[in-house]
Symmetry: C2
Subunit: 429 residues, 2 copies
Amino acid sequence: MRFWCEYAWLPDGPAAGVAITVDGSRIVSVEPGVPREGTVLAGLTLPGFANAHSHAFHRALRGRTHADGGTFWTWRERMYAVAERLDPDSYLRLARAVYAEMVLAGFTSVGEFHYVHHAAEGKPYADPNAMGYALAQAAAEAGIRLTLLDTCYLTPGLEGGELSRAQRRFSDGDAQRWASRVDDFRPEGLARVGAAVHSVRAVPAEQIPVVKSWAAGRPLHAHLSEQRAENEACLRVHGRTPSELLADLGVLGDGFVGVHATHLTDKDVALLGGSGACFCPTTERDLGDGIGPARQLADAGVMLSLGTDSHAVVDPFAELLALEADERLAAESRGHFTPTELVAAAARHEAIGWPEVGRIAEGAGADLVVVDTESVRTAGSEPLGVPLCATAADVRDVMVAGEWVVREGRHLRIDRPAAELAAVIEELL
Amino acid sequence: MRFWCEYAWLPDGPAAGVAITVDGSRIVSVEPGVPREGTVLAGLTLPGFANAHSHAFHRALRGRTHADGGTFWTWRERMYAVAERLDPDSYLRLARAVYAEMVLAGFTSVGEFHYVHHAAEGKPYADPNAMGYALAQAAAEAGIRLTLLDTCYLTPGLEGGELSRAQRRFSDGDAQRWASRVDDFRPEGLARVGAAVHSVRAVPAEQIPVVKSWAAGRPLHAHLSEQRAENEACLRVHGRTPSELLADLGVLGDGFVGVHATHLTDKDVALLGGSGACFCPTTERDLGDGIGPARQLADAGVMLSLGTDSHAVVDPFAELLALEADERLAAESRGHFTPTELVAAAARHEAIGWPEVGRIAEGAGADLVVVDTESVRTAGSEPLGVPLCATAADVRDVMVAGEWVVREGRHLRIDRPAAELAAVIEELL
């Protein structure tokens, strides 16, 4: 397949008149400055975006928690109530529709931070990975690359106590049993497996190295300092911040991604150099987390990625704009990340173990997103500015691994994703 | 005309099965809980939104100032360069397309904070209100209610100096001459005239009462403490904050709207009780202004409204979500404004002199916005949460003063607003 793009976003930024040749699931040539020819992709063609942090089932809460006030912690009670009702069948149906929404928005991969492993009271399903397979099937049907970040979740907090009813579904008992379950999880197709430590709250320090050692070369994610309360408890119990604790446990560095990384000390930022950090700005706004030090982290050598997390919003453009905008609010100045840095962060498939995807370049995975540059939102912008004006509603076509999954704003494999969302959410709530 | 709405947003929040009868430009009856009948408006019908702070020509900069870094003040240089190129003909064409974009997004009125009055070097046009009439014509063609907030702009800053080349186009020389020009401005149709003091930077303290006294019962707006530098200069020159200065000049109170109100002291907040404040959250993010004390102002009895200001984003849902979200970021907790308060702020036509508009209620102006509740963005939300999930792309139908201007997402009077935007911006830049 060969396409001529009016504009294409190359690793250095937008270029005009770019011919892209795709063979199978790979881009085999990229030629900028070519006269118009053959099959034209009007508008701006970007690399597919990576949704590096997802809890698919949180989508059920969108538009249902705004009247209540409260905090992150009271919101979590609502979220647990949904988690309690999921089973492999309903989770397949919910995640399939959520992943379809993601592809329609321009995401071509998703890192699913998955911890709802077991049935009520923590009883394993007949196949203990039944929930993971439901997610893998959902992703396959929706046409999105999946990294199942299988999440170890053992304790309710740093200071002991009993797992709540909902949390008992998350626990494998200990990290060894977590590892042996995950060893048996072998999804097919465009799916990979990574690991996650839910947080320093949910895995005892002495068991964290078991997860790290299982991960070995695979992505290893952890929620990190999203809330001040986590930092305070970690200091009380371990005399160290969560980043310090993870550093001391040998967890940081290549392959590690700290999710949120909101409330960090300067020392934490330095320790995270060489690791990744996944910001989820629209969720961090929704949950009142605060504004993390994104620019400071990038300057310290942290690889930034983006995720839609709770799916209050599913829109890669909203996340990349918010990364920059919230830095502007905190700093009271403009232009902290270049548009090229923002697009690169939003296309950081490497953070979830797809290092070959996320660039329009020879040899890269053929994941493309075509954005309408003639909508009321994008009209008048220069190509460099389009990612900061566009929204998910401007995504026209999406190719994943060499196959069109979205054309003219319609998902080719799932007829009515919004109706599927409404139906399964109605059933779960 | 009689419509049956699946859901309609009444002054207390959403209700199911609402019959609305419109006679001419007014709503004459609203009956909730009625069985489905007649002409059905599926989804959620909201009151039309008020864009209480607009500089139409700033739309030309969307997607063109992100590579430069800098501050509010360097951005302003770029903005002045566009201002210098406008004339009544190009401003008509630009504003017509910008206002069409607004109506498509669900705005049914706009408060145009208008200060580009004169030709190069401040020479008046043959009709000194030619630019104002261009804006009035643009609004009429786009089908949006206009309040032209004619803006007095006389000085480059609090500490003296010469007006720049661009700024000379803004000045009438003194406030008396400003008032006599505005006296002659009599737009027709759905247009009203209000007044603005650009800021305490741009109008000498002793001339501000002239503008206040001209306004007499009409809206009077002023940029207020958007930047710390303004506060600092005002303290140096007047020994008072901008809010204190305006209070001492007798400007605050009914009819007054402070725009931005970002960097306020507790005393400023108290002084503003009984006035209005217009937040422009997406612009305040874009320009790195900071997060203003919206909840504190509301609690002090300030009437909040919303505007898209620089039009980096034109989406009433983005503004109302951002008002709440940025408060969450600052406070690190959730739920500062109820959805009903947020919709009321976004529909505050009263802030720009249309007190009869902005409610779905008997006797109110017939401005309605029908939102798709079956998009991937809104599906699954409860009606109360829809305004926090929807985007401008979910707006299906818009009625202004009893006439449909947008149907099925298409502007009925302007065929290709995005193409018009692109063409005139290309010409201006």
